[in-house]
Protein backbone atom coordinates (compact mmCIF):
# COMPACT_ATOMS: atom_id res chain seq x y z
CA UNK A 1 0.00 0.00 0.00
CA UNK A 2 2.76 2.38 0.96
CA UNK A 3 4.82 1.43 -2.09
CA UNK A 4 1.78 1.98 -4.28
CA UNK A 5 1.28 5.42 -2.77
CA UNK A 6 4.92 6.29 -3.42
CA UNK A 7 4.63 5.10 -7.02
CA UNK A 8 1.52 7.22 -7.43
CA UNK A 9 3.34 10.29 -6.17
CA UNK A 10 6.36 9.63 -8.35
CA UNK A 11 4.24 9.26 -11.47
CA UNK A 12 2.30 12.42 -10.66
CA UNK A 13 5.45 14.53 -10.33
CA UNK A 14 6.95 12.92 -13.42
CA UNK A 15 3.94 13.99 -15.50
CA UNK A 16 3.89 17.46 -13.92
CA UNK A 17 7.54 18.02 -14.79
CA UNK A 18 7.05 16.60 -18.29
CA UNK A 19 4.09 18.91 -18.93
CA UNK A 20 5.77 22.07 -17.67
CA UNK A 21 9.15 21.45 -19.31
CA UNK A 22 7.62 20.63 -22.69
CA UNK A 23 5.34 23.68 -22.45
CA UNK A 24 8.43 25.84 -21.86
CA UNK A 25 10.10 24.24 -24.89
CA UNK A 26 6.96 25.01 -26.96
CA UNK A 27 7.11 28.68 -26.09
CA UNK A 28 10.82 29.42 -25.95
CA UNK A 29 12.33 27.11 -28.58
CA UNK A 30 13.88 28.91 -31.50
CA UNK A 31 12.91 26.20 -33.96
CA UNK A 32 9.26 25.99 -34.91
CA UNK A 33 9.34 22.25 -35.50
CA UNK A 34 10.75 21.62 -31.99
CA UNK A 35 7.88 23.65 -30.57
CA UNK A 36 5.33 21.60 -32.49
CA UNK A 37 6.77 18.31 -31.29
CA UNK A 38 7.14 19.49 -27.69
CA UNK A 39 3.42 20.23 -27.78
CA UNK A 40 2.92 16.45 -28.14
CA UNK A 41 4.47 15.86 -24.71
CA UNK A 42 2.42 18.64 -23.14
CA UNK A 43 -0.81 17.16 -24.44
CA UNK A 44 0.17 13.68 -23.25
CA UNK A 45 1.13 15.03 -19.83
CA UNK A 46 -2.21 16.77 -19.43
CA UNK A 47 -3.99 13.57 -20.55
CA UNK A 48 -2.10 11.63 -17.87
CA UNK A 49 -3.10 14.20 -15.25
CA UNK A 50 -6.74 13.75 -16.32
CA UNK A 51 -6.29 10.08 -15.41
CA UNK A 52 -5.06 11.11 -11.96
CA UNK A 53 -8.25 13.15 -11.64
CA UNK A 54 -10.44 10.12 -12.50
CA UNK A 55 -11.46 11.63 -15.85
CA UNK A 56 -10.80 8.57 -17.97
CA UNK A 57 -13.07 9.50 -20.87
CA UNK A 58 -11.57 12.97 -21.10
CA UNK A 59 -8.05 11.54 -21.09
CA UNK A 60 -8.96 9.38 -24.07
CA UNK A 61 -10.60 12.35 -25.81
CA UNK A 62 -7.54 14.49 -25.11
CA UNK A 63 -5.26 11.95 -26.78
CA UNK A 64 -7.63 11.45 -29.72
CA UNK A 65 -8.58 15.06 -30.40
CA UNK A 66 -5.53 17.05 -29.30
CA UNK A 67 -2.77 14.64 -30.29
CA UNK A 68 -4.58 13.02 -33.20
CA UNK A 69 -6.32 16.08 -34.56
CA UNK A 70 -5.09 19.45 -33.38
CA UNK A 71 -1.40 18.60 -33.15
CA UNK A 72 -1.46 16.99 -36.60
CA UNK A 73 -3.05 20.15 -37.98
CA UNK A 74 -0.43 22.34 -36.29
CA UNK A 75 2.42 20.22 -37.69
CA UNK A 76 0.80 20.45 -41.12
CA UNK A 77 0.64 24.21 -40.62
CA UNK A 78 4.34 24.30 -39.75
CA UNK A 79 5.28 22.33 -42.84
CA UNK A 80 3.03 24.40 -45.09
CA UNK A 81 4.21 27.80 -43.90
CA UNK A 82 7.56 27.93 -42.09
CA UNK A 83 10.74 27.80 -44.07
CA UNK A 84 12.22 25.13 -41.86
CA UNK A 85 15.78 25.20 -43.14
CA UNK A 86 16.20 28.96 -42.93
CA UNK A 87 15.72 29.49 -39.25
CA UNK A 88 18.02 32.49 -38.86
CA UNK A 89 15.03 34.84 -38.94
CA UNK A 90 14.23 36.20 -35.46
CA UNK A 91 11.38 34.40 -33.76
CA UNK A 92 10.85 36.69 -30.79
CA UNK A 93 9.22 40.08 -30.59
CA UNK A 94 11.26 43.18 -29.87
CA UNK A 95 10.06 43.79 -26.30
CA UNK A 96 10.11 40.18 -25.16
CA UNK A 97 11.56 40.82 -21.71
CA UNK A 98 9.12 43.63 -21.02
CA UNK A 99 6.33 41.31 -22.12
CA UNK A 100 7.38 38.74 -19.51
CA UNK A 101 6.73 41.25 -16.73
CA UNK A 102 2.90 41.10 -16.81
CA UNK A 103 3.14 37.31 -17.24
CA UNK A 104 5.10 36.93 -14.00
CA UNK A 105 2.77 39.39 -12.26
CA UNK A 106 -0.26 37.41 -13.41
CA UNK A 107 1.27 34.11 -12.25
CA UNK A 108 2.02 35.61 -8.85
CA UNK A 109 -1.48 37.00 -8.49
CA UNK A 110 -3.08 33.70 -9.54
CA UNK A 111 -0.96 31.67 -7.14
CA UNK A 112 -1.64 34.10 -4.31
CA UNK A 113 -5.36 33.84 -5.01
CA UNK A 114 -5.23 30.04 -5.11
CA UNK A 115 -3.53 29.72 -1.76
CA UNK A 116 -5.67 32.29 0.05
CA UNK A 117 -9.02 31.00 -1.26
CA UNK A 118 -11.05 28.54 0.79
CA UNK A 119 -12.22 25.97 -1.76
CA UNK A 120 -14.19 23.70 0.61
CA UNK A 121 -13.43 20.57 -1.37
CA UNK A 122 -15.12 17.28 -0.57
CA UNK A 123 -13.06 14.88 -2.77
CA UNK A 124 -15.31 11.85 -3.15
CA UNK A 125 -13.92 8.43 -4.02
CA UNK A 126 -12.52 8.18 -7.53
CA UNK A 127 -14.90 6.50 -9.94
CA UNK A 128 -14.98 6.29 -13.73
CA UNK A 129 -17.14 9.16 -14.97
CA UNK A 130 -17.86 8.01 -18.52
CA UNK A 131 -21.39 6.81 -17.68
CA UNK A 132 -22.31 10.06 -15.90
CA UNK A 133 -20.85 12.09 -18.77
CA UNK A 134 -22.94 10.22 -21.32
CA UNK A 135 -26.11 10.65 -19.31
CA UNK A 136 -25.51 14.36 -18.77
CA UNK A 137 -24.68 14.95 -22.45
CA UNK A 138 -27.96 13.41 -23.55
CA UNK A 139 -30.15 15.03 -20.89
CA UNK A 140 -29.09 18.30 -19.27
CA UNK A 141 -26.52 19.35 -21.87
CA UNK A 142 -28.29 18.07 -24.97
CA UNK A 143 -28.76 21.48 -26.60
CA UNK A 144 -25.10 22.60 -26.17
CA UNK A 145 -24.07 19.18 -27.49
CA UNK A 146 -26.07 19.73 -30.69
CA UNK A 147 -24.85 23.32 -30.99
CA UNK A 148 -21.27 22.03 -30.73
CA UNK A 149 -21.88 19.65 -33.61
CA UNK A 150 -23.28 22.48 -35.74
CA UNK A 151 -20.23 24.58 -34.84
CA UNK A 152 -17.89 21.78 -35.91
CA UNK A 153 -19.75 21.42 -39.21
CA UNK A 154 -19.51 25.17 -39.81
CA UNK A 155 -15.78 25.12 -38.99
CA UNK A 156 -15.28 22.21 -41.39
CA UNK A 157 -17.02 23.99 -44.27
CA UNK A 158 -15.29 27.28 -43.47
CA UNK A 159 -11.85 25.71 -43.37
CA UNK A 160 -12.38 23.94 -46.69
CA UNK A 161 -13.68 27.15 -48.28
CA UNK A 162 -10.67 29.11 -47.01
CA UNK A 163 -7.93 26.66 -47.89
CA UNK A 164 -9.32 25.76 -51.31
CA UNK A 165 -7.16 26.83 -54.27
CA UNK A 166 -8.30 30.16 -55.61
CA UNK A 167 -10.83 30.17 -58.43
CA UNK A 168 -10.98 32.69 -61.23
CA UNK A 169 -13.87 34.67 -59.78
CA UNK A 170 -12.04 35.11 -56.47
CA UNK A 171 -9.12 36.95 -58.02
CA UNK A 172 -9.42 40.69 -58.01
Amino acid sequence: MDLLHLLNQGLFWFFVVMTVVSAIVVVFSQRVIYSAFALLFTFFGVAALYLFLAADFLAASQVLIYVGGILTLIIFGVFLTAKIYTMDIPQQTHQRYLALLPVVAMLGLLTYGLFTADWKTVTPAAEPTTKDLGQLLLTTYLVPFEVASVLLLAALIGAVRLARPMQEEDRD
Binding site: L49, T81, L152, A154, L162
Partner: protein, 101 residues
Protein backbone atom coordinates in the same frame (compact mmCIF):
# COMPACT_ATOMS: atom_id res chain seq x y z
CA UNK B 1 2.32 14.42 1.02
CA UNK B 2 -1.16 14.16 -0.44
CA UNK B 3 -1.80 15.60 -3.88
CA UNK B 4 -4.41 18.28 -3.25
CA UNK B 5 -6.52 20.55 -5.41
CA UNK B 6 -3.95 23.32 -5.10
CA UNK B 7 -1.29 21.22 -6.83
CA UNK B 8 -3.42 21.00 -9.94
CA UNK B 9 -4.46 24.65 -9.77
CA UNK B 10 -0.89 25.89 -9.45
CA UNK B 11 0.11 23.70 -12.38
CA UNK B 12 -2.82 25.11 -14.38
CA UNK B 13 -1.78 28.68 -13.50
CA UNK B 14 1.79 27.89 -14.55
CA UNK B 15 0.71 26.39 -17.87
CA UNK B 16 -1.59 29.34 -18.53
CA UNK B 17 1.22 31.82 -17.80
CA UNK B 18 3.57 29.96 -20.14
CA UNK B 19 0.89 30.19 -22.82
CA UNK B 20 0.45 33.94 -22.25
CA UNK B 21 4.23 34.37 -22.46
CA UNK B 22 4.17 32.57 -25.79
CA UNK B 23 1.44 34.79 -27.19
CA UNK B 24 3.25 37.92 -26.03
CA UNK B 25 6.80 37.06 -27.05
CA UNK B 26 6.59 35.03 -30.26
CA UNK B 27 6.23 36.35 -33.80
CA UNK B 28 5.29 33.16 -35.58
CA UNK B 29 1.50 32.88 -35.89
CA UNK B 30 1.62 29.08 -35.57
CA UNK B 31 3.50 29.21 -32.28
CA UNK B 32 0.96 31.74 -31.03
CA UNK B 33 -1.67 29.17 -31.96
CA UNK B 34 0.13 26.48 -30.00
CA UNK B 35 0.35 28.85 -27.03
CA UNK B 36 -3.41 29.40 -27.17
CA UNK B 37 -3.81 25.62 -27.06
CA UNK B 38 -1.57 25.56 -23.98
CA UNK B 39 -3.83 28.10 -22.28
CA UNK B 40 -6.92 26.07 -23.15
CA UNK B 41 -5.29 22.95 -21.73
CA UNK B 42 -4.51 24.83 -18.52
CA UNK B 43 -8.13 25.92 -18.15
CA UNK B 44 -9.33 22.39 -18.91
CA UNK B 45 -7.03 21.02 -16.23
CA UNK B 46 -8.46 23.46 -13.68
CA UNK B 47 -12.00 22.47 -14.70
CA UNK B 48 -11.27 18.76 -14.30
CA UNK B 49 -9.52 19.33 -10.96
CA UNK B 50 -12.56 21.18 -9.60
CA UNK B 51 -14.89 18.52 -11.02
CA UNK B 52 -12.92 15.84 -9.18
CA UNK B 53 -12.68 17.67 -5.89
CA UNK B 54 -16.32 18.71 -5.75
CA UNK B 55 -17.61 15.42 -7.12
CA UNK B 56 -19.50 17.18 -9.91
CA UNK B 57 -19.22 15.84 -13.46
CA UNK B 58 -20.49 19.15 -14.89
CA UNK B 59 -16.94 20.48 -15.02
CA UNK B 60 -15.88 17.62 -17.27
CA UNK B 61 -18.80 18.38 -19.61
CA UNK B 62 -17.48 21.90 -20.04
CA UNK B 63 -14.01 20.55 -20.83
CA UNK B 64 -15.66 18.45 -23.50
CA UNK B 65 -17.20 21.53 -25.10
CA UNK B 66 -13.94 23.48 -24.80
CA UNK B 67 -12.16 20.69 -26.68
CA UNK B 68 -14.83 20.83 -29.41
CA UNK B 69 -14.49 24.61 -29.75
CA UNK B 70 -10.69 24.31 -29.76
CA UNK B 71 -10.86 21.82 -32.62
CA UNK B 72 -13.09 24.17 -34.63
CA UNK B 73 -10.83 27.12 -33.83
CA UNK B 74 -7.68 25.30 -34.92
CA UNK B 75 -9.25 24.15 -38.20
CA UNK B 76 -10.39 27.64 -39.22
CA UNK B 77 -7.35 29.43 -37.76
CA UNK B 78 -4.82 27.25 -39.52
CA UNK B 79 -6.75 27.61 -42.78
CA UNK B 80 -6.50 31.39 -42.35
CA UNK B 81 -2.76 31.13 -41.62
CA UNK B 82 -2.16 28.95 -44.69
CA UNK B 83 -4.08 31.39 -46.90
CA UNK B 84 -2.15 34.26 -45.32
CA UNK B 85 1.13 32.53 -46.11
CA UNK B 86 0.00 31.98 -49.68
CA UNK B 87 -0.73 35.71 -50.08
CA UNK B 88 2.12 37.27 -48.12
CA UNK B 89 4.85 34.58 -47.99
CA UNK B 90 5.15 35.09 -44.24
CA UNK B 91 3.56 34.07 -40.95
CA UNK B 92 5.34 36.81 -39.03
CA UNK B 93 2.64 38.73 -37.21
CA UNK B 94 4.71 41.94 -37.33
CA UNK B 95 4.40 41.88 -41.11
CA UNK B 96 0.68 41.25 -41.08
CA UNK B 97 -0.67 44.49 -39.68
CA UNK B 98 -3.25 45.37 -42.32
CA UNK B 99 -6.62 43.71 -42.74
CA UNK B 100 -6.85 44.52 -46.43
CA UNK B 101 -4.21 45.56 -48.94
Amino acid sequence: MIISLNHYLVLAALLFSIGVAGVLTRRNAIIIFASIELMMNAVNLAFVAFARHWGDVGGQIFVFFIIAVAAAEVAVGLAIIVVLFRHRETVNIDKVNLLKW
